[in-house]
Symmetry: C2
């Protein structure tokens, strides 16, 4: 791991955290993408999951955008980021309905006022209303906005989901087998359920993305948006301002980096309704990026040799040179943020479903035996081979 | 409201936040202490709640204690703070079992390492194991530790709870009636399920408590534990260091201010098992302190004329003079953090149950008609009368 990440106080592998929680049991389906527990309400046919995640340091960008332009809309999009980072993880165990969620917003009340909070809450409501139209029901219940200015310099927006589901509906990545194909679903573009073009960024790697893309102008104007523990040479050392055009794209850099995390919920819902038993596993390529799959399956070698062209935003992040191409694949989704594992025949059906929702999908690779009990990942792209 | 609080970036009433969420519906039991929703899994006899809260700025104290002494134990206690702020709110709707919880820890990885995270997780496990012995089952499922050093200067520890319960078991503060007595359960002392003496502090008002109690020494040594938006004259402007003896107490100031939030779960469980239908309402005196009850009931005048003697820690906070005695009652629990509303006869039974667990309880006041549709609170203490 290069220092592009660690020097900024972030570990994409979070080894120390994994050591801290290694004793915690894996739940009812040890191979599943999220931990599932016995039904807390006693039904032997059901299980449940609870899941926490948030928008990460993307909220610092929404804060800058508001201060630069007076436009609150970025706060609404942060709500979607915070939601989808949970929702799409839970999709990967096969849950597509019956979600309950709550949020936790921490703010410095000297810098973030009630209008920003209102915009975030409206962002939650807008997204939930939209998902309901696609048969994905999420009930928002409660939430806490805490004034913790001595901890949080601007604002942090986290969400937690609960879901209860039939055990027979669980998708377990432990069922991924050698010979599966990997269907990748594009993280970029404009789905029929999206209002604007999406750069594909998601909500991972935002610390690296922000500092590698954006110009020192933001360090000088908004010192509250970076940690003083980061060497100043690593802070906002890119060449762009929000309003600059992103090379190779119609978007500005600001719109691209603030693109709200795309959900795949409508697609996954329809895919599972028709092909649940054919889908061996689903992986949400969040922290760990294209190497995330390595955490799942048993003795699987994941070979990805037909990835999407890297979207312009990720190209702009890597052109800075402070992060290696290999590390880019470990931090960012690089073009698809959801993958499904199945037969080639089923793949065609899944790609067809994605097309109905305006989302590109294709076979991006396949699985083999790894030759040991461990998993491995090989990425072949741009004439290079990266082994993980 | 004096500026003791707002000048430090905290609003105990959070008016702007309440305006932001005022449109959100009140749920199935409009008068209940927490929002309850229809059962997401379709049973007409059940309902559910999801609840988020955290340790607030108390985590900055654990961080200081660790850096001063090398002692990790304060991180474990922070886990209890983060848990109990949720658990005891949910007790107040009558839920005492079948909880599922998740945590969200945000940290600056340059300052807070994996050992601290492990200590927090162990704190969660220890507390859950202890509660299980008292018949209060909480399943820990999932959790997220995010490296967000650009947002969080040290660490923030939040938890979210889900619970599903029978509608017939719900305790609804809307049933509080004129003529009830108010039973207060001490926040201080040493319950049979606690390992050490508890100052009674809970996890509210910690921003004020920290800055009013602790000496400028901590401002100079740990600038990462306060917001630069606070005027320096308001930062750590008390006279104490952690190791100083707290006047009127056997505790040090550090042990007192870091006392983990007491839960009342074992007591409430037993009280509800025997007297559920006799308990008209329960209030957890968190944000809003002794005035919190004003948010519940209809046309009720709450008269509190027999409060516990103010515990030494709260006396030390108020002696600074930067916060009025009236405001102290709005920010801190001042001696009891749980109250139950019932007849005088039932009160005697509840006080007896608390005694079995080593927790002082007594009738601290009573209710009358307020004479309008609004609620009011009168506190009579130390020969003074405070009207809210």
């Amino acid at each position: 791991m290069s220092d592009a990440y660690l020097s900024r106080g972030v570990s994409s592998t979070k080894d120390d955290v994994h050591r801290a929680i290694e004793k915690i049991d894996k739940g009812e389906f040890a191979g599943a993408f999220c931990k599932l527990i016995k039904d807390p309400y006693g039904s032997p046919d059901w299980c449940a999951a609870m899941h926490a995640d948030g928008a990460g340091t993307k909220s610092a960008l929404a804060y800058i955008k508001y201060n630069e332009t007076g436009d609150f809309s970025a706060f609404s999009d942060i709500a979607q980021d915070s939601l989808v980072m949970n929702l799409d993880d839970l999709l990967c165990v096969g849950a597509t309905d019956g979600f309950v969620m709550s949020n936790t917003i921490g703010r410095n009340a000297h810098r973030v006022d009630g209008k920003a909070i209102r915009s975030i809450i409206e962002g939650y409501e807008t997204f939930l209303t939209k998902m309901k139209r696609y048969g994905v029901n999420i009930t928002m219940s409660g939430g806490e906005t805490a004034d913790v200015g001595d901890l949080v310099s601007t604002l942090i927006v986290d969400s937690t989901f609960f879901v209860r589901m039939r055990r027979s509906d669980v998708v377990d990545c432990g069922n991924i087998v050698p010979g599966d194909v990997i269907v990748g679903f594009a993280s970029f573009g404009k789905a029929v359920y999206e209002d604007k073009y999406n750069s594909g960024i998601g909500s991972n790697g935002l610390t690296a993305a922000r500092h590698l893309l954006l110009s020192k102008y933001y360090a000088e104007k908004y010192p509250e948006t970076y940690s003083p523990t980061i060497d100043i040479s690593k802070v906002y050392c890119g060449k762009y301002r929000f309003e600059d055009k992103l090379p190779g794209s119609e978007q500005t850099v600001g719109d691209a980096i603030l693109s709200p995390t795309r959900t795949y919920a409508p697609i996954v819902r329809e895919a599972l309704n028709s092909f649940r038993s054919e889908i061996h596993g689903m992986v949400h390529c969040t922290g760990g990026g294209q190497v995330k799959c390595r955490n799942f399956g048993n003795g699987i070698h994941y070979i990805k040799d037909n990835l999407f062209d890297v979207p312009p935003l990720f190209c702009a992040i890597s052109e800075n040179g402070d992060i290696s191409q290999k590390e880019m694949y470990q931090v960012f989704n690089m073009g698809h943020r959801l993958e499904m594992y199945c037969s080639e025949k089923t793949a065609g059906e899944l790609i067809g479903i994605a097309a109905k929702y305006g989302v590109d999908a294709k076979i991006v690779g396949y699985t083999e035996k790894s030759g040991s009990t461990l998993n491995a990942v090989t990425i072949k792209a741009d004439g290079k081979i990266y082994e993980f």
